[in-house]
């Protein structure tokens, strides 16, 4: 692909408190795919934004968060187990409980 189109790139040049400053840069030089591929980026600061799911964590609320009713009690837990079906090796597992301790 070859293009001679102008491409304007905004660049945040400074951040001071709640104020940030933008500088536009217009790239007008005709480029080809080969030229782009050869442009190596090295040690550049890059802001990244990802949108998705929280990775690798599930949380199952059991009790009512307002009054803790419905919590699993020691009598229920005497034979309680969790079973995970594994399908691939190498995942780091952590099993977590949120417990109520009485005084």
């Amino acid at each position: 692909m070859t293009t001679a189109g102008a491409y304007t790139h905004p660049d945040v040049t400074t951040i001071a408190g709640n104020r940030f400053t933008i500088q536009g840069h217009t790239l007008t030089t005709a480029v080809s795919a080969a030229t782009v591929a050869a442009a190596v980026m090295s040690d550049k600061e890059v802001d990244v934004t990802l949108i998705g799911d929280v990775g690798g964590m599930l949380r199952f609320p059991i009790a009512d968060p307002e009054d803790f009713s419905g919590a699993l009690l020691p009598a229920d837990l005497r034979t309680a187990e969790i079973k995970l079906t594994q399908a691939a090796a190498g995942g780091t597992i952590g099993l977590i409980v949120e417990e109520l301790y009485g005084y």
Binding site: H9, D11, H25, L27, A38, A39, V40, M41, S42, D43, K44, E45, V46, D47, V48, T49, L50, I51, G52, D53, V54, G55, G56, M57, L58, R59, F60, I62, A63, E66, F68, A71, L72, L73, P74, R78, T79, A80, E81, I82, K83, L84, T85, Q86, A87, A89, G90, G91, T92, I93, G94, L95, I96, V97, E98, E99, L100, Y101, G102, Y103
Partner: protein
């Protein structure tokens, strides 16, 4: 509602050792609703490519009377579990910039909310209460100008406490701890007993592996008793993940890379729908 006080127990105290179990005894008396813990480290003078401060935090714990771990979570577990619980991540400045300072915060909450007068930490009930931070900065690589700076691991501890004149009579406290850790196998079921000494109000399951989609290593989760004759939780990881992430307020992660071509970065997100990268300093020619 009584206004809580924020007691500064430690303020960015740099640790001389890069690998240690940090221990801080808490006062003998006091009524805490929560404790906030802040961790900082300074990047190398050139960069900190591939550095994630959570990797260095082996465990953050609250230990009663020497051996009763009521909070005990790794950095990755703590960060992700809190995100799922509160719907948003705690403060985390994740940067790989030259001489940048990475900083992450965790909250040990002992009640249902800040200021809960029924559930909280009553220090006078214990002979000793200690915050422990088991850390190893070398898990992020050796100290270097391209990684992190030795002697800059710093800790802050802030207690959200009830004023002396209005300490509540707590009924109990909430604790959150890892009760099993391990690595998945290629097949078969992993079955673990649940802790049974105290009522359980919530469960967490973490399974992370870089460059692997969620729901691949673990496909199904069951929780029940009597050899699963009674089932409380039964379903697919991918369905639970969609339901639970739907409830979150924040489903994005923002950070700063110090990047090369074809650089890979392992984030704290999965099922990524959108990824955008914007240069801080524009270079229009070959660097």
């Amino acid at each position: 509602m009584v206004r809580l006080e924020q007691a500064i127990i430690m303020d960015r105290e740099a640790q001389t050792s890069d690998t240690a179990v940090f221990r801080k005894n808490l006062p003998k008396a006091g009524s805490y609703s929560a404790i906030d813990i802040g961790i900082r480290i300074t990047n190398g003078a050139t960069s900190a490519q591939g550095i994630d401060l959570l990797d260095a935090l082996k465990h953050i714990s609250l230990v009663m009377n020497g051996n009763d771990y009521r909070i005990h979570l790794s950095g990755h577990e703590f960060f992700r579990y809190q995100w799922m619980k509160y719907g948003k991540p705690m403060f985390y400045t994740w940067t790989q910039s030259a001489s940048g300072v990475q900083e992450v915060w965790f909250r040990m909450d002992f009640g249902r909310f800040l200021g809960d007068r029924e559930f909280g930490l009553d220090l006078s009930r214990f002979n000793n209460v200690q915050v422990q931070i088991d850390y190893d900065c070398t898990l992020m690589g050796a100290a270097a100008v391209t990684t992190w700076t030795s002697g800059t691991f710093a800790i802050s501890i802030i207690a959200h406490q009830f004023p002396v004149g209005s300490r509540p009579a707590f009924r109990g406290m909430v604790g959150t701890r890892e009760f099993y850790s391990g690595t998945t196998l290629a097949s078969g079921d992993l079955v673990q007993d649940l802790p049974s000494a105290n009522p359980i109000v919530a469960l967490g399951v973490m399974c992370i592996e870089d460059a692997i989609a969620d729901a691949v290593d673990i496909t199904d989760i069951k929780v029940g008793n009597n050899s699963f004759a009674s089932l409380w939780i039964d379903g697919k990881w991918y369905n639970f993940q969609r339901m639970q992430n739907h409830e979150l307020t924040v489903r994005e992660e923002i950070f700063k890379l110090f990047a090369d071509d074809a650089q890979t970065t392992d984030s704290h997100m999965n099922n990524i729908r959108s990824a955008t990268a914007k240069c801080r300093a524009v270079t229009t020619a070959v660097a």
